[in-house]
Symmetry: C2
Subunit: 460 residues, 2 copies
């Protein structure tokens, strides 16, 4: 939060406490709805929130409302009269109404639907049908469309008449009588055309569109690739059913990046901002993978147990002391590759068909990396570790370094292949990759280490 906003918040607090509501209302209209929502949620208690919300200028209330946390939304809805609720809902865009409804309990949903116009209710119900991850769930049905035979001045008349209720007027769509999407025309095109030009002639008929069931992440990528400000959504028959606007695409991009970070860190994804998560919900998101990974470490204990006696006799146990370094380095190496590939998949830079290119690339890189790390590890063992522990012989240093080289190569191979395989099996690359890589690489490198140590160290 910057200082300017901080000062404004202080003023709002003061005016609210002093009950100077007239001046307060004037102040409010000079602040962005997103910031007012932050003020209400962070600075006011539940009762004050309702009083303050009722003070909001009419045209502001719904813009502020959609910025709230779902808990705040629910509390507010329960405190509003039907008439107040209706005013808020009427001013909201349909995609936002659907987002609110998605998080509400059944009785609140009923109240919202009851207070919508019959036409809105029908469209809301249609939008609610789409799966949460689809373009359909992201879109709004409030767009501007023309007939191809309209003139430019007729188009402007329609924009002036219907524009105020539309989420964007800057990209308009041309459809036939059956709503088939024929083309797209921007307000810029319209402004630069002559009033009696025909819309069908100036429109662009190569339209990039999304399908209702398309993954919303995929839709967001189209925005980032092509730089659009809106994207039409069509059904299977090619009929225009809605549009997605860039602000929603930005939200998806942020959410997906957060989710990927969470999954890579072995956390179940949550949408709530960190400071709003309860201790209980943090526990629920983190405990599953923490336990799974802890339990899967049983393998490493079992492997170490079974080689225990042998390892202790050879070089009086010194080999044990390098196990954490070996497993840690292999884990880091695998993590580098999996994070790179998972992110490249998320950005649509890499597909399953690229698997051999990816393996080849990682193989070359991992050879170079493994050899560099192996050589330096060998030097470190002979120059530093030997000072502290005379049991670090040439043989021990050699076996440790060799296993490190092999473990890095295996880890990087797993790290690049597993996310792609997961993607192919329609599993989530980020969830599947990291934990499995750790477990497999840990077990494999330990077995190789123990086997090599027992075979070679006594001979050297």
């Amino acid at each position: 939060m910057n200082e300017e906003l901080e000062i404004k918040f202080e003023q709002l607090s003061q005016l609210f406490t002093d009950r100077k509501f007239q001046i307060l209302r004037e102040q409010i209209s000079e602040i962005e709805p997103a910031d007012i929502a932050i003020f209400i949620e962070e600075r006011l208690d539940e009762k004050e929130r309702i009083v303050f919300f009722r003070l909001l200028p009419k045209e502001f209330a719904s813009d502020v409302f959609i910025e709230f946390d779902s808990d705040t939304q629910e509390n507010l809805i329960n405190s509003l009269t039907d008439k107040e609720l209706k005013a808020v809902i009427d001013d909201m865009f349909l995609d936002d109404t659907v987002d609110v409804i998605d998080e509400m309990p059944a009785n609140v949903v009923k109240r919202i639907l009851k207070n919508s116009t019959p036409q809105d209710r029908k469209q809301i119900n249609e939008l609610l049908e789409y799966s949460d991850d689809s373009a359909g769930s992201l879109m709004t049905t409030e767009y501007v469309s023309f007939n191809a035979k309209n003139t430019v001045s007729e188009a402007f008349d329609k924009i002036r008449k219907t524009g105020p209720d539309k989420e964007t007027i800057y990209t308009c769509y041309v459809t036939d009588s059956k709503k088939h999407l024929l083309g797209v025309v921007s307000v810029k095109d319209l402004l630069l055309a002559k009033p009696d030009d025909i819309v069908g002639e100036i429109m662009d008929d190569n339209v990039i569109s999304a399908e209702t069931f398309e993954d919303k992440e995929h839709v967001a990528m189209k925005f980032s690739k092509y730089g659009f400000i809106a994207l039409p959504v069509v059904d299977k028959e090619g009929c225009l059913v809605g549009i997605v606007t860039v602000d929603d695409a930005v939200d998806v991009i942020q959410e997906e990046a957060t989710e990927d970070v969470q999954k890579m860190a072995a956390i179940l994804p949550t949408e709530k901002p960190y400071l709003k998560q309860s201790t209980w919900s943090i526990w629920k998101a983190r405990i599953p993978w923490l336990l799974i990974l802890m339990l899967s470490a049983t393998f490493t204990s079992m492997i170490l147990s079974s080689y225990e006696e042998a390892l202790m006799i050879i070089s009086s146990g010194v080999l044990y002391t390098f196990v954490p370094m070996l497993m840690g380095t292999a884990g880091n190496a695998g993590g580098q590759s999996s994070a790179t590939v998972i992110r490249a998949i998320a950005l649509d830079e890499v597909k399953f068909k690229d698997i051999f290119r990816v393996i080849w690339k990682e193989l070359k890189a991992s050879l170079l990396l493994a050899l560099s790390v192996g050589v330096i590890c060998f030097a470190k063992l002979m120059l530093i570790d030997r000072l502290f522990n005379p049991n670090v012989s040439w043989g021990v240093a050699g076996v440790v370094s060799l296993v490190l080289v092999v473990a890095i190569i295996i880890a990087k191979f797993m790290g690049c292949v597993l996310p792609l395989l997961a993607k192919k099996c329609r599993l989530d690359p980020a969830v599947v990759a990291s934990p499995f890589i750790t477990t497999i690489v840990d077990a494999l490198s330990l077995i190789i280490y123990c086997a090599l140590a027992i075979a070679f160290v006594p001979l050297l």
Copy 2:
């Protein structure tokens, strides 16, 4: 890549091989510039690229050009005549020209500047002055501005006259004679107003703007918070110097998310798409942290060495076998917290001043998590591990589980505090946090483990 695009690419290839250039040009104009750039880079060799690029319809060439990789751009520039180059540059928006220049060697930069108009050259040089991470480097100077006294119809005249060269016409700015930013007016406002309304009266004078030196990540967050399609950039005197458009903000959001993922995975951030990175550049990005982390594991080896004899005598070495599980679990626990906090910092949800709220939140969660994991670990040790290794006594299981509880709490504390401290010291939370957490937590939990084991296991 979807199938439709794949088919189009096949057609383009065929037409190009058959030298049916007329039909090819028609086909090209039906494909998005971003896709044509992909086609040229992925399907054509260096010589073909130049031939193909020359075939592009004039209005298309610069849109395709800016989508290329910098290597492709450099090769193309070196093959174009001055006249061709001038045509491409003239059609580019200034912020894109600056992006291209940023990646070019000095001789190519000279040629680009030589082939720009004097006015453009002056503005390009100004934009080049801004640091790479600033709003200034992101903005373009091509925006539409009005005088507050203009009427709406005068405003439209200006849009029609100057609009074609502007990056966006949908958000326009109102400035005084000294270019001070007075307000913002959208084309929607203008369309819904009467022709003789005065711009100064319908404009919104509460403008959210960025300053030239503001961090570009911060600027991008404003887009995601407020849902803008353009944001004005002002200098220290409050004069309008440029605008940032939402497509550039989307790119920044994607890049920053990728960078954070890379840093958390102990990779130096790179901007190039994965498949375009050379083996050498992958090596350079990954080797530093891989080595640093490997070398820092010297501590763990030293700690284990110094407790070696004691650990081997107690319970005949079984304590060693749980070291990987302890360190792995503590590492996972710390990683969960640091990833969560790093992402929350990136999304501006958490600031340094929230440090005590964060610590309190993590402390509660870590107690719950640590106890759950500890209890289950104890059960696992007694029920499963004991089957394989009779040396797993009540005492061993108790110490291992207790240390696990302590290690998880320490790891989560470090995981939430270090990123915030790094942020406070103006270091990068993502870079600093993960590697240090691993090293510190590994060392601490090992020392506690060894100390507790030696003190208590023999007594039990």
